[in-house]
C-alpha cells in the first residue's frame, strides 16, 4: 500500500520536471557597440552555451572590422578615399560594400552609407551624444558635394571615387548584415530555433517549442509595447526610431537619422518598422523609409521590394501596408505624442 502511494508521489514529481527540449535559453552580452540578446529553443543547454560564446566573438570581430571611426579596415579605406586614392578592400569587407552600394542605389539615395562626413559634422561618431547641431553654413557646404554611391566604383578588390567627400559609415546597415551572419552561424551549429536581437533589431529562425516566436514592438513615445507580432521562420524585424539616439538643443529634438538630401534629421516619422527576410536589407530599408517621409515612403518601400512596412507619423498616426496589417496585433491605435 505505502509502496503504491510512494510510486504515485514520485510520478507526480517527475511530471513537474520539464523536458529540456521545452526550455528557452537566454543570453545577453555587450558587443557590436550594443546589447546582443540571444534566445534559443529546442537544444540542450550545453550547445546553446557554446553558440552564445561563439556569437559574442563573431560580433566583437565584426564590430572592429566594420567600424567607421575606430582604427580598422574601414577607417583605412576612408583615409584612402579622403586623399582621392583608390582603396584596397579585403575579401571580408568586399561583399558588405557591394551590398551597401546596391541598397543605396535602389533606395533612391534615402539610404546613403557614404555620409560618414555628415554624421561627423553632427557629432554622431563618438560614444558621447552631441550637444548642439552644426552651423547651417557647414551643412550647406557639405551638401554641395553630397556623396552619391552611383559615383563610387567597386571592382577588382578596389574602391574608387572622384568625390573625396565619400566616407563610408555602415552604421545603418552593418547591424543587419551582422545579424544575418549570426543566424547563419547558429544554423551551422545545428540550432534551428532562435532569435538574435542586436540593440532592438532582430531576426528569427524556427519557433519556440510551443508556438511561433512572439515579439513586442516598443511604443516610440511611452514605456511599454504598441504591438505584438508573431515572427515567421527566417524573418527579420527592424525598427528605426527617433528615440534611439538624440539630443535636445534649445527645446528642439535632434535625432540621428539624417536625411542626406537636407543634411538634417528626417522629420516626418517617429518610427518605421520593416519585416523582411534579409536583415541587411531590413536595416537599410528602415532608415531609407524613415528618411523618405510621408510623401515618398510607399515609393521607396516598393523600390526596395518591401511589402511589410509600418510607419508612425509625428502626430501619432500609424500607417501600414496591406501585408503588414494582419501581422501586427496592435495594442494601441495611435501613439500619444504630447509628452515629448
Amino acid at each position: 500500500m505505502k509502496k503504491i502511494i510512494g510510486l504515485l508521489l514520485i510520478s507526480l514529481l517527475l511530471c513537474a520536471c520539464s523536458d529540456p527540449k521545452q526550455e528557452v535559453h537566454k543570453y545577453s552580452f555587450f558587443a557590436f557597440g550594443t546589447i546582443i540578446e540571444l534566445t534559443i529553443s529546442g537544444v540542450e543547454k550545453s550547445l546553446a552555451d557554446q553558440a552564445a560564446g561563439e556569437l559574442e566573438t563573431d560580433f566583437e570581430r565584426m564590430h572592429k572590422d566594420w567600424h567607421a571611426w575606430n582604427p580598422g579596415p574601414l577607417v583605412t579605406i576612408n583615409e584612402h578615399l579622403a586623399r582621392g586614392e583608390a582603396a584596397p578592400v579585403s575579401e571580408d569587407l568586399m561583399p558588405l560594400l557591394i551590398k551597401a552600394k546596391q541598397l543605396a542605389l535602389i533606395s533612391g539615395g534615402t539610404f546613403n552609407p557614404a555620409i560618414g562626413g555628415l554624421l561627423e559634422l553632427w557629432g554622431y561618431h563618438g560614444d558621447d551624444p552631441p550637444t548642439r547641431p552644426p552651423e547651417k553654413e557647414t551643412i550647406e557646404d557639405y551638401l554641395k558635394h553630397i556623396p552619391d554611391l552611383a559615383d563610387v566604383e567597386i571592382s577588382d578588390g578596389l574602391v574608387r571615387t572622384d568625390n573625396s567627400s565619400v566616407q563610408f559609415d555602415l552604421g545603418g546597415f552593418a547591424k543587419g548584415y551582422g545579424i544575418d551572419r549570426a543566424i547563419d552561424h547558429l544554423k551551422a551549429l545545428g540550432i534551428e530555433n532562435a532569435i538574435v536581437n542586436a540593440g532592438g533589431d532582430l531576426k528569427v529562425i524556427g519557433q519556440r517549442y510551443d508556438r511561433p516566436w512572439r515579439i513586442g514592438i516598443r511604443n516610440p513615445r511611452k514605456a511599454g509595447v504598441m504591438a505584438s507580432l508573431d515572427v515567421n521562420d527566417g524573418e527579420s524585424v527592424f525598427t528605426s526610431g527617433d528615440y534611439e539616439r538624440y539630443f535636445i538643443y534649445e527645446g528642439k529634438r535632434y535625432h540621428h537619422i539624417l536625411d542626406p538630401r537636407t543634411g538634417y534629421p528626417a522629420s516626418d516619422f517617429i518610427s518605421v518598422t520593416i519585416i523582411t527576410e534579409d536583415a541587411a536589407l531590413a536595416d537599410a530599408a528602415a532608415t531609407a523609409v524613415f528618411v523618405a517621409g510621408i510623401k515618398d515612403w510607399q515609393l521607396v518601400a516598393d523600390r526596395m521590394g518591401l511589402n511589410k512596412v509600418m510607419v508612425v507619423e509625428k502626430n501619432g498616426v500609424i500607417h501600414m501596408t496591406p501585408e503588414m496589417k494582419p501581422r501586427m496585433q496592435m495594442v494601441v491605435e495611435t501613439i500619444n505624442v504630447q509628452d515629448r
Binding site: 500500500m1 505505502k2 502511494i5 504515485l8 508521489l9 507526480l12 513537474a16 528557452v24 540578446e37 534566445t39 532569435i195 536581437n197 532592438g200 533589431d201 532582430l202 519556440r208 516566436w213 512572439r214 515579439i215 513586442g216 514592438i217 516598443r218 516610440p220 511611452k222 514605456a223 511599454g224 509595447v225 504598441m226 505584438s228 507580432l229 524585424v237 527592424f238 525598427t239 526610431g241 528615440y243 534611439e244 518598422t273 496585433q329 495594442v331 494601441v332
Partner: protein
C-alpha cells in the same frame, strides 16, 4: 474512521493540490496587458496603460470591459449569473475572468511572459 489508506490518500491529495498551485499560480507582478479571447480563438491584446471601455461581441451579446489605472474588469455582461462582473478588477499577471455564457475570457499577462524579445 480514518483507515491508514485514507490518511495516505488525504496526504497525497494535499500534496497534489499544493503542486497545482505551484504549477498554475506563478503570479508575476503587475500585468501590462489583457489578453481577451472570444469563443476560444479570436484573441486580442490590449494595453492596460490606456483607460478605456471595450465592447466585446460574444456569443450572446456584448460584454463591456473597463480598463482603469492598469486594471481591467467586466463592467457589464449579458449573462444571468454575472460571475464575470463579480470577479472584479484583474491586475496581476495570470489573473483571469471569464463570461462563460458569452464565451468571453480575459487574462492578464505581463510583458516578460508574453514576449520572447522586444523590437525597438
Amino acid at each position: 474512521m480514518f483507515k491508514t489508506g485514507d490518511k495516505l490518500v488525504l496526504i497525497s491529495a494535499l500534496v497534489f493540490v499544493g503542486w497545482l498551485y505551484g504549477q498554475f499560480w506563478f503570479s508575476d507582478g503587475r500585468g501590462d496587458f489583457a489578453q481577451i479571447t472570444i469563443d476560444g480563438k479570436e484573441q486580442q491584446l490590449v494595453s492596460l496603460a490606456e483607460n478605456k471601455i471595450l465592447e466585446m461581441r460574444g456569443k450572446t451579446g456584448v460584454s463591456e470591459l473597463e480598463i482603469n489605472d492598469g486594471r481591467i474588469r467586466f463592467k457589464h455582461s449579458p449573462c444571468p449569473n454575472q460571475i464575470c462582473v463579480h470577479a472584479g478588477w484583474l491586475e496581476h499577471g495570470g489573473e483571469f475572468a471569464a463570461c462563460l455564457p458569452n464565451h468571453v475570457a480575459v487574462e492578464i499577462v505581463a510583458n516578460n511572459t508574453l514576449f520572447d524579445s522586444i523590437n525597438f
